[in-house]
């Protein structure tokens, strides 16, 4: 028999954003249900067992963007969330050189001096500029993006807030901001540094998750997107969630349940139930139906609208806008169980350097060439990777003495090109293995014995990521972070405040402002919009304010 229960609000998808929205709604007293198609909650932030005794993060693997305001509002530490900051990080060139990353600014200066004395001062200037821009942008993450075409007092108020902040930072900095927000990360770094290797070290953050190259304008902003987070208030720092990224989702889930919310897993959405332009509930794949006047979708905008609403129920312009929303898969991931720590002959023994991420970026040109392969539909022959050995930070993730490796790889196309035909179906097992070999070749440059250490390796193409998490094309941000898809353009002009043309239907995932990453800001902002509509203004999430 099929069930049919009523709720005040239903959230579709238990990604961290959906859970965040649900938490705020439940805390405001709404009877809230979350439905999730997978058996675990968390979406792209899940910890599971990879191999007997090895716990790993399925997709996202490091934490920094998660907003402090939300951690405090929802009291996540009380539900087990603990973020341990990186102590290191390193970029190797595979020829014996490395450049370490250290949290201590003076140690970092010394490290850069080994490669270029001139770049030491450049680093100070670079760092200060990036941090100033981060401070500028941070408050906007937890505010709605104003609609510049609107005359509503709230939109005008938000625009005035923006102008006021620009006025406050001064004309010189506004000029720098225009430049920084629109430049390519390659050009930006070229302005500061002389050493190719130093530039290559910093460039990675400008391309992670995008379908752009280091010389595409707009990638400096992507770097900002990766720097604007913090770990316990330490700006730009990255950290590692104890128990892997699923710990964040688990904490959110526990907070939700304490607030009276319900979560139903293995409950995939069939379609939204819509009557006369209004959402009235959801129908699951298994035939169950739930009713609610408010439905929030954590799925990306394309999936939500094109797969589960139906074009006939929507204005043509809106459908068109959603169709052209760019959501390009560009990255894959390898999760590897290791029987022992691989050797890194070029690195000092036992350094703190191992408690951070590893890359093998030799030059900006190498990174740009990796992008060129992808444009043509191939994975990069010399890929960029961001690798982490989480067991160096949290040894409980694997049996004693054993290790775990997470390798984020870019670029890998969603629609792989085989003989001129581009399709996600081209990702056969054989192709996936060939892709993995290419990544192992690259890894071998920095840890030559990696292949002998592997007990088990899971290889994921963008097509696999789409299949598991539902991220369209495997795009990690639920949509490219280019200006035409940011702020009031995200996900569609005129619908950037979490609303859709369907009354009561909201979009609360990373497709919305301020975008992807395990940040929870879209989820919180969306909850604010929903609660405002309901007149529950006292229960709304904290609005971030000036911080300088």
């Amino acid at each position: 028999m099929t069930k049919c229960d009523s709720y005040d609000a239903i959230v579709v998808g238990a990604g961290h954003n959906g859970l965040t929205t649900a938490c705020y709604l439940a805390k405001a007293g709404l009877k809230t249900l979350v439905i999730e198609k997978n058996e675990q909650i968390g979406g792209a932030a899940v910890s599971t067992e990879l191999y007997d005794g090895w716990i790993y993060s399925n997709c996202s693997y490091v934490c920094s963007l998660l907003r402090q305001e939300i951690i405090r509002d929802l009291e996540l530490p009380r539900f087990g969330l603990q973020v341990v900051p990186f102590r290191g990080g390193v970029n190797l060139d595979g020829k014996g050189n490395y450049i370490g990353a250290y949290p201590d600014h003076y140690v970092m200066r010394r490290e850069i001096a080994r490669h270029s004395p001139i770049d030491v001062d450049a680093y100070d200037r670079y760092y200060q500029l990036v941090m100033r821009q981060c401070r500028f942008i941070r408050p906007f993450l937890l505010r709605p993006a104003p609609d510049p075409t609107s005359m509503k007092p709230r939109d005008i108020g938000e625009l005035i807030y923006l102008v006021k902040r620009m006025y406050d930072i001064g004309p010189r900095e506004v000029g720098e901001m225009i430049r920084f927000w629109t430049m390519s990360i390659g050009d930006f770094l070229d302005e500061f540094f002389e050493s190719e290797f130093v530039k290559a070290k910093f460039a990675g953050s400008g391309i992670i998750g995008t379908g752009l190259g280091v010389y595409s304008p707009g990638t400096a902003y992507v770097l900002l997107h990766h720097y604007m987070g913090d770990v316990d208030g330490s700006l730009g720092a990255w950290g590692f969630a104890r128990g892997a990224m699923g710990a964040i989702s688990k904490a959110l889930g526990a907070a939700l349940e304490e607030a009276g919310g319900e979560i139903r897993t293995d409950a995939g959405l069939g379609e939204f139930v819509i009557r006369n332009g209004k959402v009235t509930g959801v129908a699951l794949e298994n035939g169950d139906e739930y009713r609610a006047p408010i439905v929030a979708s954590n799925m990306d905008v394309k999936r939500t609208i094109l797969h589960h609403v139906g074009r006939d129920k929507l204005p043509g312009d809106y459908v068109k806008a959603v169709e052209r929303f760019k959501i390009r898969g560009s990255s894959g991931k390898l999760n590897i169980a290791l029987d022992a720590m691989p050797r890194f002959p070029d690195l000092p023994e036992n350094g703190e350097i191992f408690q951070g991420d590893f890359a093998c970026n030799t030059s900006l040109e190498m990174l740009e060439r990796a992008y060129d392969d992808w444009k043509e539909g191939y994975w990069s022959s010399g890929p960029y990777f961001d690798m982490l050995i989480p067991t160096k930070i949290d040894p409980t993730l694997a049996p004693p003495g054993k290790h775990m490796m997470s390798v984020f790889v870019q670029y890998a196309p969603y629609d792989l090109n085989v003989g001129g035909v581009r399709s996600p179906n081209n990702w056969t097992d054989e192709k996936r293995d060939a892709f993995a070999e290419c990544v192992f070749d690259r890894l071998s440059l920095v840890c030559p014995d990696i292949r002998e250490r592997v007990l088990h390796a899971e290889v994921r193409s963008p097509a696999d990521i789409e299949r598991e998490v539902g991220l369209t094309e495997g795009n990690i941000f639920q949509g490219e972070l280019t200006f035409d898809q940011l702020l009031f353009n995200r996900p569609a002009p005129g619908y950037a405040q979490y609303n859709t043309p369907i009354e009561g239907l909201y979009i609360v995932g990373s497709s919305t402002h301020p975008g992807g990453g395990v940040m929870a800001a879209p989820g919180a902002n969306a909850a604010r919009e929903i609660l405002r509509k309901l007149g529950k203004t006292t229960a709304m999430p904290t609005v971030a304010d000036d911080e300088f």
Binding site: E191, F483, D484, N489, P493
Partner: protein, 520 residues
Amino acid sequence: MAQSEKRYDVIVIGAGHNGLVSAATLAKLGKRVCVLEKENEIGGMARNYEIADGLQAPRIAHLLYNYNPVVARELGLAEKIDKAPISTIALSDDGRHIEIANGALRYADGAEHPDAAAYAEIRRKIEKFGKLLAPLALRSPPDLSEGLSLAGAGEAAAIAKLGLELKMFGKKDMREFLRIVLSNIYDLALDEMPDGEVAGLLAADAVWGAWAGPRSPGTVFLLMYRYAYGADPSLPKRGAGAVVDAIVDVARSRGVEIRTGAAVSRLNIKNDAVTGVVLEGGSEISAKVVMSSLGAFPSMKMAGPQHYDVETVRRLRNVRAKGMTAKVNLVLRQEPKIGGVSLAQIAGRFVIAPSAKYVERAFSKAKYGEFPGAPVIEFVMPMVSDAAQRGRYLLSAIVQYIPYHLKGGWDDAARDRLTALTIDTLSQYIPELRENIAHVDALSPAFIERETGAPGGHWHHGELSTDQLLTVRPVNGMSRYAFGVRGYYLCGAGAHPGGGVSGAAGRNSALQLLKDGVLS
């Protein structure tokens, strides 16, 4: 000390069209102006030259894209220049070319094209948005630091007016503008049509002169800049050089003195104010104001870095100007024949960019300093209708992407490769071209830099990208033409609003210096 010559109010360095427009604008108000040009010819990148005896050819620039009607009207050029928009033929590999004439797109054989409506809509949008932005090109960029001062109020009003006009568009177009203004032409075109000649043409028109491929964000803005006064370029009788000649006439009639073969080596500066210039031979000329039509960095070197603070020098050094465009002029013995093109169509503009991917691939090679496998080419045959040329024909081609920073450098062999690559590519559409060639001039970006002084041989003297536009052109803090030292001004393509044969930079800088009161 060498003898100081007669004293001028203003010296303009460089007789490119912008320098000439500055001079003519100031002379109209009775200022004594002298233009100094290092070459023996006047006109810079926009001049004509004698390519073979008696045969005139456009040296570098050949078409007018964003020729500014306001500047032309102010100078009284309009009557002097015989110009009308020309049609464009986008060449296709299969011989079924596409023609755009009078704003409509169809196959060159007259048949309807499936993407005509999509093209028309993109063109309408870009022209409309370009027109919205056009007034910005005719004023100094807003100075953010003026804040709420009286001078700042004017700026605020200008911005407010722009905002108002944007609102008048109605929500739909306003939103569309804000969505696409910083985006890339590749997606804009391919969202509406399959990849092919039409998308290729839009891509090519967006990237001429730029160190950017169609996939690079910012290329839609470049298309707006180019289409601001209409999407179809025009080919004046006797080429872009005719524009220069007309400006020279006006300038001279107003008493402007133009000296050729007079290369400026540095500025004379006393007490942080300009007093004149020193020529390469050592002679000095004094003036209250010096305007430079060179790029920002060479202009700074001319004054001497000691006059600028460290941060400014750093910014100026970082101005990106990596030229990607070469010029190849061919003299032909007979009228060339292009399959699938009628006699009437041959007077148009031809573009070789069979798809947006083709354009991107050419860029993908050149960005590493390599020759593209197949370059993007725009060519015109300006003299085909001109019987006076005694049976000789001219083919003027802009070839992109040809990197300034070529691996191995620009030696004779590299220039020969440029020639060969151009001829090979053209020959695919003009079968008997090779046997028909009487003479070739291939100008690499490095050569263009040497000849005109434009940094990197760059079309705009400095990349026209969002981070080098408006308030941050040429660099943050120096956007209003005044260039660091009292009495020193920029007036060329490197300044706001950028290059192309438009004259806007020359005009604006002259008006700004009058407003600044440095001549009183």
